[in-house]
């Protein structure tokens, strides 16, 4: 007997037991759908974490100065001395604040980062138009600004380079626009204005550096740079460890990734159990079917059906039920993953690969759980089966 023949027979039988088939398929569908959704959410979270990691900059350490009393901040020279460490590829001291940017009639409230030319490198900003701030801008305390794409958009600047805007009432010349970078955990990366750190006193009325970005040359150097940095800071703040903190963003993201991975692994196990239950449903239906069709099996055997013909007939039937459940489950899973993605604001979506895998897998479950009933059918004695 050929496989196509078996498929026709199986379809016939499955179709004539629509209600029973539908319920068994439903069981399978729930299993497959939950697996699909869990895998999609897991992938989505991993994707999200990865993009945030890229949004913050790679191999990045952030020093926050929070000290009270005599030393509440560090100067530009101090900052340079602190990061004189082997393995540091770039560092950027930053004075941050909020400011109202104004261009012609449009105003927009944005954050300002007064920093050095290295800022673009450590935060991984690209310049879309014009240029970034340069050493010479700082040396002469030039009032020049590089604006984020969102700021350009909000101020309705179509050709910003060379235009003048005011920051807190002080006129600045726009020398460049940053390329769009999207959002990360800290909010939008495109809503900011970068000015030379030497001009911070003018707009922000301070030159106290409280943030220092330090980029290690490579992943392996991050830890050694961190400990050297902490050593320098400890000396600088005279053992007052509460005055500063060093924040390793890769560490945090690693923790977040680990948590989300173990969560989704656990949920996938739970979903796997529902798939097992679906498989048991198939086995149950097939066992009932074999008992009901004992006489049919006897007739088929008397007409010359071999064991493997009967086996094939029932296995194809089980695989068909599994496959139908898989298709329905993959479809429901894709819908559910999209909805869950919206709900959790993560890019969770079921890929075609996962869906195809789900269908193939559920057919496999069908075959696996159909094996025992099929074997039982194939081993029936024709004389007894006919008498049934």
């Amino acid at each position: 007997m050929k496989l196509t023949q078996g498929l026709r027979m199986a379809w016939h039988s499955v179709y004539s037991q629509r209600m029973r088939t539908a319920l068994t398929v439903l069981g399978m569908m729930i299993g497959i759908a939950s697996v699909t959704i869990m895998v999609a959410i897991g992938n989505g979270t991993a994707e999200q974490v990865k993009s945030q990691m890229q949004g913050l900059g790679t191999n990045l350490l952030t020093v926050n100065v929070v000290g009270r009393g005599a030393t509440t901040s560090i100067s530009l020279e101090d900052a340079e001395a602190l990061v004189d460490i082997e393995g540091v590829s770039a560092s950027a001291p930053v004075i941050t604040g909020n400011v109202t940017a104004k261009y012609k009639a449009a105003t927009y409230s944005t954050s300002i980062a007064a920093s050095t030319p290295s800022y673009a490198k450590v935060r991984e900003y690209e310049v879309a138009q014009g240029r970034f701030i340069k050493e010479i801008d700082g040396a002469f305390a030039q009032k020049v600004a590089v604006i984020g794409s969102e700021v350009a958009e909000e101020l309705e600047l179509s050709d910003p380079v060379g235009e003048k805007l005011t920051l807190g009432g002080i006129p600045y010349t726009i020398v460049g626009v940053l390329a769009e970078k999207g959002s990360s955990s800290g909010g939008s990366n495109d809503n900011l204005v970068v000015v030379p750190i030497q001009t911070a006193r003018v707009v922000l009325q301070t030159n106290a550096i409280r943030t220092l970005y330090v980029q290690a040359a490579g992943e392996q150097q991050v830890d050694s740079v961190q400990s050297a940095l902490e050593f320098n800071l400890q000396r600088f703040f005279r053992n007052d460890e509460n005055s500063y903190s060093v924040f390793n963003q890769a560490d945090l993201l690693e923790t977040v990734t680990a948590v989300s991975t173990s969560m989704s692994t656990m949920l996938t196990y739970v979903a796997g159990i529902s798939l097992l239950v679906g498989g048991i449903g198939i086995m149950n239906m097939m066992l009932v079917s074999v008992t009901e069709r004992t006489r049919e099996i006897g007739i088929r055997k008397s007409l010359g059906a071999k064991r493997r013909d009967i086996m094939l007939q029932f296995l194809v039937e089980a695989a068909l039920i599994g496959g139908l459940g898989g298709i329905a489950g993959a479809a429901a899973g894709a819908g559910g993953a999209g909805y869950a993605g919206k709900l959790m604001d993560s890019p969770a979506s079921a890929s075609t690969d996962i869906m195809l895998l789900a269908v193939a897998f559920s057919m496999g479950v069908g075959v696996l759980f159909g094996f025992l009933p099929a074997r039982r059918a194939s081993k029936l004695n024709p004389v007894d089966a006919l008498r049934h």
Binding site: H12, I299, L303
Partner: protein, 234 residues
Amino acid sequence: MMSAPGSSLIRLEQLCKSYTMGGQSFLALDHITLDVREGDFMAVVGPSGSGKSTLMNVLGCLDQPSSGTYYLDGVEVERLSDNKLATIRNQKIGFIFQQYHLLPKLRVIDNVELPLIYRGMSRRERRERTIEALQKVGLGDKLHHLPSQLSGGQQQRVAIARALAGQPPLLLADEPTGALDSRTSREVMALLQELGGEGNTIVLITHDPAVAAQARRVVRISDGRLTEEKGAVS
């Protein structure tokens, strides 16, 4: 494979079949020796419990004898494996059962086609043979009916068409008129006689002496032993 006309199609030698029931074994078939030649139309007659169903199962390769030998169309079948027996049933035997044993969810044409599917025949050849067999039994116009839409006599004719479709050397009929009224019984018997007249080898198993009388040769079975009654070949 075809043997010369008149040669033995079935040869049983000292064939026994024993069953164990309640710790006691008894012989359902007691040292049966039988020769059926090609073209014979033979009836096996006996009351219920005489062993005729057991004989039918053994002859039909549905069951295996406990001892003795059984040659069917030149092949010694009593020690063959399950799969080989399935092939023998498929190619050498056409069954006609008392309860017709049609598959209720399949159309007439699909029912008749079944043995040919298990033979691995191409779709076109199957169609041809199936339609030919159904025309032979006078049901060429009922191809797409379901068995439940037919009368008992018609259903039995479908079963006969199914037995004929594979053109097996042996037709084995187990009480073919047992579930039919007397008028349709006569029709079915007329069809069997016609088939017998065309040179088909038919073994008919029945409890009804009137049905048995229509065969050219009759053997009686009682308590598992065979005795010739009519038309024995010496």
